[in-house]
Structure formats: structure tokens, C-alpha cells
């Protein structure tokens, strides 16, 4: 039997705010344990929550970015369960009425093997605001506290936007493409720093399988807390295989929450449905309904950057870039910003695109640096392109200048001067030099005249060599052609 895997994602994105969702405690990462755990964070008796404006604006931004319905009124609810990293004994979340409703994102699924790349629309079910829990620290070394876990509540109350999709994905590749797209989008609209190591972007993946061609969804298992795309791919592939094998062996799948172990590459059950909590959701009486007006939406929209799809279309129309180039340049906001800055500094769009996607990206990849850490600034790149354009240097010479700037030198013209890369464009000088080359290579001239076209290129090479690469190649071609025609 042929099987089909059905995947839906729930992503917890930590929102980029200075303070927690319901208190004025800092959310900075990496502080000493419990030094950012204020009276609200540790749930002292009598404390109360007040909602962070920035967190709400982040949610609105996301809603606008995925063309979602944004609820005029949404409600915070309490999700009740006991856990030491949950100091109130309930998590404040949104349940029945989330702030962001149905929306969609378009993903690009890359080509794999003989399967071509394709686009697909993934539907967003909802996105809701909630608070993060604290952290449990295991394996404390102090002997007197052996067998104990430590609780750090610095993270407790950090604002999260939980983004839930429909079960629209049909492969690990689609799920990863969606996760990457979402990861890029939340950074693009600047609501999340995207740092997966620090847990700023965590995915729970619901996986089920069904015989291909059937409608009814299989029983799903949820893989919790995946914090890298590689693990997500591995976890989904393992889980899919496991579910299919289980069913083919005559077994049944039981609804469960599982964890992925990167060391073994396997998933294991954390809790079954029978053990699942009865969360006793109810509207939080300490918080009033959240209202988002049209004016709020308009204000937030005005502050938002151009979205990647819009920017891509503009790059194609305005700069005449191919769909592929425009898509590559808008794959991250920093990359797009770099490209636009290069163009705005006077570079032509097409060579700028080629350089950004070529030399610049290659260097960055080799050194594993993000674009905003590029030693060559957009302004420098534009200067360099200007010198190519005005024939001061050749493309080849430009690569040397680029290398020098990457190594830390700053001024394009100074580098050209220092390395003596200035192109010779004086036709008199070039003519004299070509005359010398022709005189010194009678055999080649004869070959050319006998109809060997290749000999022409050899003569160009000789001329360039004679000029130490500084002659303008176009001029050399032109003059050489003229001379040989005589």
C-alpha cells in the first residue's frame, strides 16, 4: 500500500520585546538564574498581569504579514496544569478567541533528486499570544541536592506567538520549507530574533499517516520542541517510517506526545493521551478582552517593512531581475536590504544582483557569516561597481579589489591605485602595444588569416598579458580586429 504523511505545525516564536508579556521584567537572554524573575514572574500572592503593548503589535504584524483575519476582540484564557516551571499553576494563553485567525503563507519547496522545485500554499489556522514557561535545570552537581531539579523563572512570562497551521504538509521537505519560510518571515517583520539555539523559534510537529487517496486523517503523534531544521527533517522522516511500519505490522497508532532524540535519531513517547491533562481552560478574570481596532492595524501596517512577496515583484518590475534572482535576493530581509543599499548607492541593479548573489554570498558562506557581518559594505560594493562601469578597472581586477576590501581595506580607489589595477583605455597606447604583439607573433597572425578563429583569442590574450591585464579588453578586441582586417 502507498502511504501519505500528513503534517501540521505549531510554532512558538518568542516575540522581540524588552519586557515580559504581563510584567516589566526584562527578557534579555542569558542572565543569572531568577535575576529577571520579578514578583509577577514568580507568581507571588496578589500579583496581577498587565498586557505588553509591543507583544500585541508583534501579533498584529504577523497577522498582516500572512493576510490573516485579526480579531477585533480576543480573549486571554487560563490553561491550568501543575509544573514547576509554571509558577501560577496556569499558563495565560488564548483559547477560544485568538488574536490572529485564518491566514496563509506560500512556500517554495526545493528540488530533490528528480522532483522539481514547486510552490505551495500553507494555511494558517490561527496565531495566539501566550506566555512562555521557565526552565528546569537538571543534573545539579552539588551532592546535598542530588535528585533535585533547579527552576529558573527568567524565561517565565516571555511573550510567545504560537502559530498553528492546517495539516497541509505532505512531506518532511514541505514541513521544513514551511518552517524556514516562517522563520524568515518573523525575522523579516522583526517580531522574533529567530535564534533557534536560544529557543526563540521552536516547532511542534503533528504527524499522521493514511493510505494514499483516503480522506480520513490518521491518528497523530506530536513531536515536541524541535529547535533545528535538520532535526525536524530527521524527526519527521523517522516518525513517518515508524508509523507506516507500525500500521503495516498490524499495529495501531495511539495519540501521544513524543520527543526526538538527535543522538539516536528516534522519537520516544513523553506522554500518552490517557495521561494528557485536563487543562480546564476558562477566560482569565484578571485580564479584559483585547481590542484591536482598524486604526491600530493601520498604524502597525504603516510601521511594517515591505513584505518579501511584494519586494520580489518590485525587484522584477523595477530592476528587470529574473524571478529566480528576485526570489533569492528577498530570501532574507538583510540580504534584500544589502542589495537595495548597493543599488541606492549608485550601482546598476543587475551587476549588483550578480555580485551580491555571487562573490559576496560565496565569501559569506565560506566564512559562515550573516550578510550584516559582511566586511564589504553595500556602499563599498557600489563604489567598486562604479569603477567597473566607468571602465577604470576590469571585472577581473575588481575581484582583486573585492578581496582586498574583504581583508579590511576600505577605499576602492586607493586599492586600485595601490595594486596598479587601473585599466588602460588610451587607444593610442593600446594600438602601439598591439602593433608590438602582432610583430612578435607572426605565426599566430598567419593562423588567423588562414581562417583559424581561435588564433584571435590567443592574440587578445597576448595583448592583455602585455598590458599586465590593465588594457580595456573591449578596446583591445576592437583595435585588434581592425588591424587584422587590414
Amino acid at each position: 500500500m502507498e502511504w501519505e504523511v500528513v503534517i501540521g505545525l505549531e510554532t512558538h516564536t518568542q516575540l522581540k520585546t524588552n519586557t515580559k508579556i504581563f510584567s516589566g521584567a526584562s527578557t534579555a537572554f542569558g542572565a543569572e538564574p531568577n535575576t529577571q524573575a520579578c514578583e509577577v514572574s514568580i507568581a507571588l500572592p496578589g500579583v496581577l498581569p498587565v498586557l505588553n503593548k509591543q507583544a500585541v503589535e508583534c501579533a498584529i504584524k504577523f497577522g498582516l504579514a500572512v493576510n490573516a483575519e485579526i480579531a477585533r476582540r480576543s480573549v486571554f484564557a487560563r490553561k491550568n496544569y501543575f509544573y514547576p516551571d509554571l509558577p501560577k499553576g496556569y499558563q495565560i494563553s488564548q483559547y477560544e478567541l485568538p488574536v490572529v485567525g485564518k491566514g496563509a503563507v506560500t512556500i517554495q519547496v526545493p528540488a530533490v533528486g528528480k522532483n522539481a522545485a514547486y510552490e505551495k500554499v500553507i494555511n494558517i489556522t490561527r496565531a495566539h499570544l501566550e506566555e512562555d514557561a521557565g526552565k528546569s535545570v537538571h543534573g545539579l552537581s552539588n551532592q546535598s541536592i542530588e535528585g533535585m531539579s533547579g527552576i529558573d523563572l527568567n524565561r517565565a512570562g516571555t511573550p510567545l506567538l504560537e502559530i498553528v497551521t492546517e495539516p497541509d504538509m505532505r512531506s518532511a521537505a514541505e514541513a521544513v520549507a514551511y518552517a524556514k519560510k516562517l522563520h524568515e518571515l518573523v525575522q523579516w517583520i522583526d517580531i522574533c530574533d529567530g535564534n533557534m539555539q536560544e529557543g526563540s523559534f521552536r516547532c511542534d510537529v503533528n504527524v499522521s499517516v493514511r493510505p494514499k487517496g483516503t480522506e480520513k486523517l490518521g491518528t497523530r503523534r506530536e513531536i515536541k520542541n524541535l529547535n533545528s531544521f535538520k532535526f525536524m527533517q530527521q524527526a519527521i522522516e523517522y516518525e513517518t517510517r515508524w508509523q507506516i511500519e507500525t500500521l503495516e505490522d498490524g499495529g495501531t497508532i495511539h495519540q501521544a506526545t513524543v520527543l526526538f532524540n538527535p543522538d539516536t535519531g528516534e522519537t520516544r513517547v513523553m506522554r500518552s493521551k490517557e495521561e494528557a491533562n485536563d487543562y480546564r481552560y476558562f477566560p482569565d478574570p484578571d485580564l479584559l478582552p483585547l481590542e484591536v481596532t482598524e486604526a491600530d492595524k493601520a498604524r502597525v501596517k504603516a510601521e511594517m517593512p515591505e513584505l518579501p512577496e511584494v519586494m520580489k515583484a518590485r525587484f522584477e518590475a523595477e530592476y528587470g531581475l529574473t524571478s529566480y534572482d528576485a526570489s533569492t535576493l528577498t530570501s532574507s530581509r538583510d540580504l534584500a536590504d544589502y542589495f537595495v543599499a548597493t543599488v541606492n548607492a549608485g550601482a546598476d541593479a543587475k551587476p549588483a544582483a550578480n555580485w551580491v548573489m555571487g562573490s559576496v554570498s560565496a565569501k559569506l558562506n565560506a566564512e559562515d557569516k550573516p550578510i550584516n557581518a559582511s566586511p564589504v559594505t553595500a556602499l563599498q560594493l557600489a563604489q567598486l561597481l562604479k569603477r567597473i562601469n566607468d571602465n577604470t578597472i576590469s571585472n577581473n581586477a575588481a575581484k582583486q579589489v573585492f578581496e582586498a576590501m574583504w581583508a579590511g581595506e576600505v577605499d576602492v580607489d586607493a586599492i586600485i591605485e595601490k595594486l596598479g589595477l587601473k585599466q588602460v583605455s588610451d587607444s593610442g597606447a593600446i594600438e602601439a602595444m598591439i602593433d608590438e604583439v602582432l610583430a612578435a607573433n607572426p605565426a599566430m597572425v598567419a593562423e588567423f588569416k588562414a581562417g583559424k578563429e581561435k588564433a584571435f583569442n590567443a592574440l587578445v590574450g597576448q595583448a592583455m598579458k602585455a598590458s599586465k591585464g590593465k588594457a580595456n579588453p573591449a578596446q583591445v578586441n576592437e583595435i585588434l580586429k581592425k588591424k587584422l582586417a587590414n
Binding site: 524588552n18 543569572e32 531539579s149
Partner: protein
């Protein structure tokens, strides 16, 4: 909706309240009485009535995203409970609150 002893034990566990057989039986009697009182609600037809969570029709006020809290760990951990199980030490270590091993 009559309660039984299994319900009592289930909700006691949900509420993380230890309860022995005897207490469960006594609780069943009292809670059944209270639920009898509550059942009076079922006499009213509430079809179409909007549930009321708050007495005033006001919306949530938003707080500016500015850090106002300082580190008060020392003061807050001064009131941490005693560890227990034979240890008279407070249930904190290196700034962390101590609980029995959390297994995931």
C-alpha cells in the same frame, strides 16, 4: 450529574490535593450537597444569553514595553520553603528553586 468517589479522586488529583479514602467519602457527601445547590441553575433557560466574564464592558489596557523591574532574587528567595525530606536547608541553590527531579 451525580458525583461518585472516582470523580472525587480524579478532581483531587487534577487539583493536586492528596486525599485518602475516608476524606474522599466525606468530601463526596459535602460536594454532592453543594452540587445540589448548583443544579438550581439548570431550571433557567439561558439560550442566547451572552456569558458575562467582567462586570464592566471595558477592554484591556496595554503597558508600554519598558523594563521597570529590578533583580530582587535575594529578597524573593529569602521566603523560599524548607527543602524537606530531612533537610532543613531552604529549597534554593545557586539562585535556582529546588524541586524533586523533573522527568521529561
Amino acid at each position: 450529574m451525580a458525583l461518585n468517589i472516582t470523580d472525587i479522586k480524579r478532581i483531587a488529583h487534577l487539583a493536586r490535593l492528596e486525599i485518602n479514602e475516608q476524606e474522599a467519602a466525606a468530601t463526596l457527601t459535602k460536594l454532592s450537597g453543594i452540587l445540589g445547590l448548583i443544579e438550581q441553575m439548570q431550571a433557567i433557560d439561558t439560550t442566547g444569553i451572552t456569558p458575562m466574564s467582567h462586570s464592566q464592558d471595558v477592554v484591556q489596557r496595554l503597558r508600554e514595553d519598558v523594563v521597570t523591574e529590578t533583580n530582587q532574587r535575594e529578597a524573593f528567595q529569602k521566603i523560599a520553603p524548607v527543602l524537606g525530606n530531612g533537610s532543613a536547608k531552604q529549597a534554593v541553590d545557586g539562585g535556582l528553586y529546588l524541586v524533586p527531579q523533573v522527568i521529561e
